[in-house]
Amino acid sequence: MHLGGYVWKRSVFAIVTIFVALSFNFVLFRVLPGSAVSSLARVPHASAELKHALEAQFGLDKPVWEQYFLYLRELLHGNLGVSFANRQPVSANLLEAFGNTLPLVATGTVIAIVLGIATGIYSAVRRGTVGETVSTNLAVLFYAFPTQFLGMMLLILFAGYLPSVGMSDPFAVGFSPGEQFVDVLRHLILPVTTLILTLYAENTLIVRSAMLETLGEDYILTARAKGLPLRRIISSYALRNAMLPIVTQVALTLGSIVTGAILIEVIFSWPGIGRALYSAVLSRDYPMLQGGFLVVTVTVVLLNYLADLLYYRLDPRLTR
């Protein structure tokens, strides 16, 4: 594949995927039977003006295909309707929630990947030793525990010592910016730890099997025969080649990251996207539900796209 061809293909794929998700979202909420309840204008306790405005914007009295185009048009303008729960625009609600989710998921994922690569390499290189058995079995064990279970165990163990609800102290009036920052950090510890424990195990197992594949290659034998130091063989020969399957597979764990984040936000009452989705389900807040679905899907598709680009950077065969 020549230069650009790969990037171009992946870009088209990402755009088409987002479009499919948008259309699926429309069909699920407006066309399928039973979705009449989700009429966007049925905001409880809304003024007559708001209802009329929503009906006009989304053409709710028009035929379905026309509604579809209006839906796409409003989407491009960032209009996702009005939340049933607090009568605020869905986009404003989601933006705030997204800003809260980001620090939690970003810290947890980055630490989990670094930790997973370290333990994965250790498990592959030291295969057959006691250390490897412990490290691999520990990973399998954490991989096996449901996220909500790990979260609840941490709650039981540390509830007295670390803040366990929300992302800041509600009585923190008159805190200096520095103190506020420390307060949020303290609130982050338990949810981030839960996320790391959930994710690192899967990463360990992925890195371990990718490394085992490359450690059996002839070029490792050659490198060893040349007398290269172990560290060099691992980092520039084995890991460098194992990175390709690792990037592909770690990108596929984005789904577990999303699942983990949703469960963790519910357990620790973290006011992010996951909790927004959860309360949208509980209160049958359909505009929020479909808005949340869109935001998460688009984010995951974009991150996958980034992983594809990273793959392109890593694999010289694609740039030739």
């Binding site: 909420f29 989700s38 525990f145 959860y278 949340g292």
Partner: protein, 314 residues
């Protein structure tokens, strides 16, 4: 070829698909895994007779701690946790097995069709698979379950309909290599139809791979069920490992210090998943001889075995 001769030939083929797998299944990891799964299967089949108390009517006080009469204590409604977990296992295993079965069927149809026929069928089916892989499944499950309403059959359908992607990928790759084997070409030139080739000559070769995949799919299905249940999207009246944890969390078992209302269900989920993982990966390892050798082995200096090299390569 007729009668016994054909039978012998197909037996030989089956042996070749299973070669190495049999040895892998006698490894301690595989036996432990199988033992764990078997234990929980027996437990859930005989759930009605094994439970010491009723799983629907109270038999002790609210959040009573574990005692000789109630080994695992009681939940918020005074219901014996041990009975709940046994009963919940039945439903969780049922959800796991049915939705995994569904996923395996869809996945193998996709994988076999696109691997066997190739061309535009392959392109179309794999594009569809790619979309399903990228879309965050749990969020889709939440949306679908929320729109349809919470019920156990919806949970099974939603999990099954979204879980098949990795199976489809793996099966496709395997069928693609099988397709080029000499014996398939021979059968083809003898005039066998597509259906016959697929059913008699390809599916039997896929058996170990399908079993490994099915086992791993069961774990993901049970996992997803607990997640959906925790978000209140499972049937609220059904007792599953997921709803047990959800009820305990909702009714403040944590602030009451009643860890015994949460821990048993969580440990059961973990045990089943470890069991399935050990068993599934033993089969997978056996099917991938490259994983057996490492030139950086810490203990010994081993060369790669001849399996996986030359014309004999898997």
């Amino acid at each position: 070829m007729t009668g016994p001769e054909a039978g012998k030939a197909s037996a030989a083929r089956r042996r070749s698909a299973w070669s190495g797998v049999g040895a892998a299944l006698t490894r301690p990891a595989a036996i432990i895994g199988l033992g764990i799964i078997g234990f929980f299967l027996v437990l859930s089949i005989f759930a009605q007779w094994i439970q010491p108390y009723s799983s629907s009517t109270p038999s002790c006080g609210v959040f009573d701690p574990p005692s000789p009469a109630h080994w695992l204590g009681c939940d918020d409604g005074g219901i014996d946790v041990l009975s709940l977990v046994i009963q919940g296992g039945q439903v969780s295993m049922f959800v796991g097995f049915t939705s995994a079965g569904m996923a395996i069927i869809i996945g193998s149809i996709f994988g076999i069709l696109s691997g066997y026929f190739g061309g535009w069928i392959d392109t179309v089916l794999m594009r569809i698979t790619d979309y399903f892989i990228v879309i965050p499944q749990i969020v889709l499950m939440i949306v679908v379950a929320a729109v349809w309403g919470p019920s156990l059959s919806h949970v099974i359908i939603v999990i099954g309909a979204l879980l098949w992607t990795s199976t489809a990928r793996v099966i496709r790759a395997q069928v693609k290599t099988l397709r080029e084997r000499t014996y398939i070409h021979r059968v083809e030139s003898l005039g066998a139809g597509h259906l016959r080739i697929i059913w008699r000559h390809i599916v039997p070769q896929l058996a170990p791979l399908l079993i490994a995949n099915a086992v791993l799919a069961v774990t993901v299905a049970i996992f997803n069920e607990t997640a959906l249940a925790f978000l209140g999207l499972s049937d609220p009246t059904a007792v599953t490992w997921g709803t047990i944890m959800e009820h305990a969390f909702d009714r403040n078992a944590i602030s009451a210090g009643a860890w015994w209302a949460i821990v048993p269900a969580g440990l059961c989920v973990a045990a089943v998943i470890v069991g399935a993982y050990l068993w599934g990966t033993s089969i997978e390892d056996a099917l991938n001889p490259r994983l057996r050798i490492s030139y950086l082995s810490a203990r010994s200096w081993r060369l790669r075995p001849l399996v996986g090299r030359g014309p004999d390569a898997l």
